[in-house]
């Protein structure tokens, strides 16, 4: 069989039916883009999700579930069940197995964003992504009692700059009627964007957290008992409790031993979790949804391929005259059947190529919006093995689909009884 002849005939046939086939190709392109896009986003979202925190070996909080502790310390979701004593935190600092500890104190908010009381260790040791450290985009880390550092999104949303004054609210929620009006905070710095929940919080010192609650009882400020910033200067503020602590260990191989020891801590009931393990578990629970989404998209591609088969079968009825001419000029039944296969595979390859280009343009265009609206760091990257597999499966599936009209044509061509003169 002459391959060059088959290819030139197929090219002429495709060009002749370009209007109908371009619509089929467009349908296939969109469905492959959808399939590839879902798989691509699935990988990127997982990467973004599991990169929320890194470098922290253990998160320690009051007795709770591991997902609960993870959600309120890392994702700022839900509320803590209890606090841990400051004395416990101090004892943990003496533990030789623990390299560093970041205290986390929650409870207040700024315009709906969490206020996190912490210390210098947060800037020094907290990491996200693949071990990326926090960077200050403007100003410096808090030094004074009433200094505050803003997450990137908080600063963006309220257009804050260094040295702005802000008033924090007592308790959580976007609308609060209990504000710490007597103790406004000065914006000392603004953190660089991380694409993680870090961008959506404001950070103050533990002393600041204590100072603004002096004179507060039952969630209300008692008139005359609160401190002014001037009165607070020079005073020592020591917390009695904190919400949780992030810990880095001297030797990672001891992580599970330390976790077991902390979970059996006799001083008070504690829960120690491994953030990476908890994130994996959380993702595993959510992965049912993404698998369902991928399955639905797979069906979209199958439907498009069936559409391609339907078009080829419809065209087949209109090509009876063309096939008779081909057979009369010496084309074998095999060559005629091969034309259908070549045309279908060519259309699928073109659709895959267009889908790749469309996907790349879409990812490039949507990246800033995904970052701003959802905090997702989606980047243009080479396709994974699985994504290449999905892409290659489309022309293969098109080849299989094309076998239906190809076989029919081959069978009908043989019945024309013109012999197999072009077979070689």
């Amino acid at each position: 069989m002459n391959t060059r002849l088959a290819l030139s005939l197929a090219a002429a046939s495709l060009w002749h039916r370009r209007r109908v086939l371009s619509l089929v190709c467009l349908t296939l392109t969109l469905s492959v883009t959808l399939l590839l896009g879902i798989q691509y986003l699935r990988t990127e979202v997982k990467q973004s999700f599991t990169s929320t925190i890194s470098g922290t070996d253990v998160i320690i909080g009051a007795r709770s579930g591991q997902l609960n502790l993870l959600l309120y310390t890392v994702f700022h979701l839900g509320d803590p069940t209890n606090n841990i004593r400051w004395s416990t935190f101090q004892q943990l600092k003496q533990d030789q197995r623990i390299d560093w500890l970041i205290p986390i104190s929650l409870g207040d908010s700024y315009q709906g964003y969490r206020v996190i009381g912490t210390d210098d260790a947060f800037l020094e040791h907290f990491q996200f992504g693949r071990g990326q450290a926090l960077q200050l985009a403007q100003g410096r880390w808090f030094e004074g009692v009433f200094d505050v550092v803003l997450g990137a999104n908080v600063a963006d949303e309220f257009n804050h700059r260094v040295d702005d004054r802000i008033v924090l609210s007592h308790g959580g929620g976007r609308t609060s009627f209990s504000n710490h009006d007597d103790t406004p905070f000065r914006v000392a710095g603004i953190l660089g964007s991380t694409g993680t929940p870090v961008d959506q919080a404001v950070y103050i010192s533990l002393a600041g957290m204590e100072a603004m609650h002096v004179g507060w009882q039952s969630g209300v400020a008692v008139p005359g008992r609160t401190l002014t910033p001037e009165q607070a200067e020079g005073r020592e503020f020591t917390p009695t409790a904190i919400t949780a602590a992030f810990a880095g260990l001297e030797r990672q191989i001891l992580t599970f031993q330390v976790q077991r020891a902390l979970n059996q801590y006799t001083g008070e009931p504690l829960t120690a979790i491994l953030p990476g393990v908890a994130l994996s578990e959380l993702w595993r629970l959510m992965s049912q949804f993404e698998r369902a989404l991928l399955g639905i998209t797979g069906f979209v591609v199958i439907i498009s391929l069936l559409g391609l088969a339907a078009v080829l079968l419809t065209l087949q009825a209109q090509r009876a005259h063309e096939i008779a001419v081909l057979r009369a000029t010496g084309a074998s039944p095999g060559l005629v059947a091969l034309l259908y296969v070549i045309e279908a595979v060519f259309l699928a390859i073109v659709a895959c190529g267009l889908a790749l280009m469309l996907g790349a343009v879409a990812v490039s265009a949507l990246t800033p919006w995904l970052q701003a609206a959802y905090g997702l760091q989606v980047q243009l990257r080479p396709l994974t093995t699985m994504e290449w597999g999905l892409l290659v499966s489309v022309p293969v599936a098109a080849l299989l689909v094309a076998l239906i009209p190809a076989f029919r044509t081959w069978w009908q061509s043989r019945s024309l009884g013109l012999g197999d003169t072009a077979e070689s």
Binding site: V45, S48, F49, T50, T52, S54, D57, R63, S64, G65, Q66, L67, N68, L71, F75, H76, L77, G78, N153, G195, T196, P197, Q200, R251, Q252, I253, L254, T255, F256, Q257, N263, Q264, Y265, T266, P269, L270, T271, A272, I273, L274, P275, G276, V277, L279, S280, E281, L282, R284, L285, M286, F289, A373, Y374, G375, L376
Partner: protein, 185 residues
């Protein structure tokens, strides 16, 4: 990832979150379910496994008959001698191992068994704890690993594996019949 957007998806998970053990609480005990914790550093793996005795022995009461004693002896010997994870080349070797089983008594093959602290307190449930220190020369972040536990113990339905190492932390679950896995985030 923004917390507010995730809230509707994640909050229901709080209800399902498991409670961690503490000094006052007995360890969770679920037949068919076992936990495996792996701490990796270079070629060394510190391994800890916790399983209800039922999964590994087929019973949880104190062994009474000679057959039951033989099952205990055979199983504990196997747990001592078999790396509970291995690389594809089966190159992991045990540097140290310890098996904790409340009724090991004098019937064990090795001298390092320790009686469980729970002995006598929760006789209706018994756990087996295994600690191993492994050396795996061909271990790296992309290694395909396997665990012989699922194929050795038919009563084991789920093996929950948590790991930590230089490439981060993670967890995965091996269902019945699954033996191989890869550590990856």
């Amino acid at each position: 990832m923004h917390a507010a957007k995730l809230r509707p998806l994640l909050l229901p998970l709080l209800i399902a979150s498991p409670i961690a053990v503490s000094a006052e609480n007995p360890t969770a005990h679920q037949h068919g379910h076992a936990e495996l914790q792996l701490a990796l550093s270079g070629q060394t793996v510190e391994l800890y496994a916790l399983s209800p005795a039922y999964n590994l022995l087929g019973f949880e009461h104190e062994p009474r008959t000679s057959e039951e004693h033989q099952v205990v002896d055979t199983t504990i010997a196997w747990l001592h001698e078999t790396p509970l994870i291995n690389t594809l080349g089966l190159n992991c070797t045990i540097q140290a191992s310890e098996v904790r089983y409340a009724f090991a008594g004098d019937h064990s093959h090795h001298g390092s068994e320790h009686e469980s602290e729970n002995k006598g307190k929760h006789e209706s449930h018994t756990d087996i704890e295994i600690s191993q220190t492994l050396t795996c020369p061909d271990l790296d972040a992309a290694s395909l690993l396997s665990s012989p536990m699922g194929s050795r113990f038919s009563a084991l339905e789920h093996l929950e594996i948590a790991w930590t190492g230089p490439d981060g932390q993670g967890s995965l679950r091996l269902e019945r019949g699954e033996t191989s896995f890869q550590l990856g985030r």
